[in-house]
Symmetry: C2
Subunit: 400 residues, 2 copies
Amino acid sequence: MISLEEARSRILSQLHPTGAETVALAAGWNRVLARSVLARLTQPPADVSAMDGYAVRAADAVGGAMLRLAGEAPAGRPFAGAVGSGEAVRIFTGGFVPEGADAILIQEDARAEAGNIQVVEGVKQGQWIRRRGLDFAEGAELLPVGRRLTARDIGLAAAGNHPWLVVHRRPRIGILATGDEIALPGEALPSGGIVSSNAHALAALVASAGGEASILPIAPDDAEAIASLASGGGHDLLVTTGGASVGDHDLVQKALGTRGFALDFWNIAMRPGKPLIWGRLGATPVLGLPGNPVSAMVCATVFLLPALARMQGLPDAAPPTIRALAGVDLPENDRRADHLRATLALDAQGEWIATPAGRQDSSMLAVLARADGLILRAPHAPALAKGGAVEVIALAALGV
Amino acid sequence: MISLEEARSRILSQLHPTGAETVALAAGWNRVLARSVLARLTQPPADVSAMDGYAVRAADAVGGAMLRLAGEAPAGRPFAGAVGSGEAVRIFTGGFVPEGADAILIQEDARAEAGNIQVVEGVKQGQWIRRRGLDFAEGAELLPVGRRLTARDIGLAAAGNHPWLVVHRRPRIGILATGDEIALPGEALPSGGIVSSNAHALAALVASAGGEASILPIAPDDAEAIASLASGGGHDLLVTTGGASVGDHDLVQKALGTRGFALDFWNIAMRPGKPLIWGRLGATPVLGLPGNPVSAMVCATVFLLPALARMQGLPDAAPPTIRALAGVDLPENDRRADHLRATLALDAQGEWIATPAGRQDSSMLAVLARADGLILRAPHAPALAKGGAVEVIALAALGV
């Protein structure tokens, strides 16, 4: 058995970022930049007004002064001339400050009178002027390589005049569920069978993390059928579920073995989800998840999410955790890293309280769906009294 | 001026959840259920083994006993007969416990010998048996109406045998950017013009929150053109940007007025983003955001995200906040609710430290993109010393 951290690090070390592709700005949300975005213009392109009011010479615009209205400068239509001595130009937010003016008299501080402006409150030089390049200068890096793009970033790339973005291609993840006993929802169930839930749950997880999932047809417990479906190719990573356990029915390893599968490891000191296969079938990395739906989702959170991040050019990292206080006493842990399904609630002090479900049986998918997070318990962690600090993977925040 | 909370509550009170539609299970991620998901079967469908081993009668399986191997019961292929006295049946995780057996002897505690099994470690009655219905019973509510579906929920709906889900239709949001001075990225810029960034940033925000955005052609500063584009219909909500300010160029209200626009309010005690229009054009609610990109995104976070949630059948709520400690002294606030762009960093104690950007000028989009969150400052909030507790909207976690 190897540790969870070693397993994750061995998985990540064998994955590489996908190649780059060009997408329209509108399709860039949540994608990861493969090329930095540099400003193609300076913003604002000139000194502009920060307010609606009048562009003036500060030396003229003292309290009580009367200024002649020489024209106007709305945003997008710069005033052609210059503001001369004793003059003012009507200006609006974003309008270019005309030549000669060095301050903005806001409209609340002026009184307009038939072609003239009376200054009610004097101005200081530079007042309410946004300098050219205040937001960014042409050539400046707006967004770095490796950034997952937010809605704000899309706005900033647009402001920098980019209709296209260069991002990492979505990793293509093949998902192969195996087992004689499983059938897709709505299909006729074999006697003694259960409905397959892993493939669709994993596909949702892959999509939410920026990947592109293909759900392969369910493979029966037959080495030739498994090998044939697994060898279809076209995936950056093949994920199998089922057939990974220690029993006589761990067919996936045997099946892939007939096609030259190179096993790296298959046994991790974690719970739920001990039997996890990692290896390579030809050029395709293969992650073999347990068939148990709870184990499959916990292993996907712990290993597949970081794998998807790495394949998109993001830094290697464990799933993010939040700090919480244990809602009950937690017993000493054994040698396996444990992941306790738990609810999260805020207490009166604004602290998260994480309370594990009373029953952690790994077959209970409903308990997983109702959980807010997974409390992490390190191997051999000592007993922890109620109120002690724990780290929790907040699942919904990860799209899981 | 009305308060931010009153504005949000008036906006939400005039919006309604969209109708229901049926989507394939695979398309259900992040959608909101309009009909609850009830289990269509019992899971597990019978008592099943929790381990690989042998189904036995506990009374027989005492340490040292020798049991006759009567057959096998892998998952999906129940053993047809019963386990008689002195007998054992090979069983695998998920296999149905055969009639007569009342415990599982795990394989690590047995020794297999030519058609027989020697018990190394005795078993207790019921040991390693998962009872019928342990996960859920037929008819039980697996997922309630109004739930935004996670990847785990998709798995649970699958396990409950649902190939289809009934969810709220994605709200259709029309986005209309106005202004003579703006052009789309890559298009020829008018002299004195700037690149339009709001429409694409807002569309990304809408999509990330579960809506469907249509970016309408940019409207010039012309009442007739604005009115015509805004009246196209087909949207659950029309969002405009620009033309909402107090100046002479607040055209949106005038333009829509020609088509019977019913204004509710337009002035909110908040910063950035004071001039915000809320009203109705015929049957279509209209949210008029400021043209300033920072104000537009902050107002979208504060008003449009909750609006999208409400239109999808989620409960009314302000954007979620996290608790942090102020990284610098914060001055007393004036009468407007403030939203300070800030970075977030964890200190050694695991507390979030929120440090506002040195310059909060609302034209600085790059500062917004680089921020991790918005520190909320209530109207008239007293000065707060460094280290005091603040609430922060964590933007990236919201897809913004």
